[in-house]
Symmetry: C2
DNA sequence: TAAATAAAAGATAAAAAGATCTTTAAATAA
DNA sequence: TTATTTAAAGATCTTTTTATCTTTTATTTA
């Protein structure tokens, strides 16, 4: 469904927001240990997210990734679209080039329903609420 | 969502069933022209489906791909699982290794709902009913 | 200011997915 | 039987995705 990059990205962002709420920044090493992700690859992903303004970073001692208050309002859909783009929500399920409402592919309508609910779900979940579940020990980022 | 192989596979199978209902076999060339897919790649996919018994084939003049009556009952889920496996329905949305009901990832429950409805959709759609829409000009396999 | 820390950036490498080409085998029809 | 047709099989190639390594730049602290 999501690319590996997107999976790592979402997990990393959840952890970063959690750390920010504890008043700390999250170093790439900590992040990757915590979410069990490859370090240089995840660093790349976060550099991109940082450049796009979804998260912030600071170099040097005690540096690392964090979120500004306004960034803490991130919805999951923002992260997904930043990393995987929106083809999951706009592309044809069967890869038919000119699939549209007028000339639908064989599963166009059924598919639309599914991915609309996927999109809706991602739009309604904030990263922040997931960090709460995380601190409460309700959900996990690794084994 | 689906791999390219799966997209081509589904489109090809729909066309093959349609041709079978017209009492003909579908050659790989015809198939690929009709669904706008790369020929050797699609041939590989159909060879696999044939080996797995989802479709039938015959060599020689007037040969090609077709379905036996019992194969015409194919559901979309059969094709998807044959090509992409079932990781879409069983794997964790965030790629967390030991994600489970007991130790769920942050979006485990929301994700489950989505993919259950996806699975349900694929289980309830038969390839055959899609060929009807195709012959009625209601849906399209290419532009 | 100098040393240490940590992200940024760029180059490179490995693996997987997607696509192609060539040869072989089976079936049919002349 | 022989030539023709068409899928099967195997080898190969390309592109994209995933992952790593090295060097540079920014920041902090001593």
């Amino acid at each position: 469904m999501f690319s590996k990059a997107c999976e790592y990205g979402i997990r990393a962002v959840i952890f970063i927001v959690a750390r920010t709420e504890q008043g700390k920044r999250a170093g790439i090493k900590d992040i990757c240990k915590e979410i069990e992700a490859p370090e240089p690859f995840t660093a790349k992903i976060l550099q991109n997210l940082s450049r796009m303004g979804l998260v912030s970073s600071m170099k040097g001692p005690n540096g690392g990734f964090y979120v500004e208050p306004h960034q803490a309002q991130l919805k999951l859909i923002d992260v997904v679209k930043a990393i995987d783009g929106d083809k999951l929500f706009t592309g044809c399920g069967l890869g038919v080039k000119e699939c549209s409402e007028d000339k639908p592919c064989p599963i166009h309508h059924q598919f639309k329903a599914i991915r609309n609910s996927l999109q809706e779900m991602l739009e309604n979940i904030s990263v922040r609420e997931l960090t709460e579940d995380l601190s409460n020990g309700l959900v996990f980022l690794k084994k």
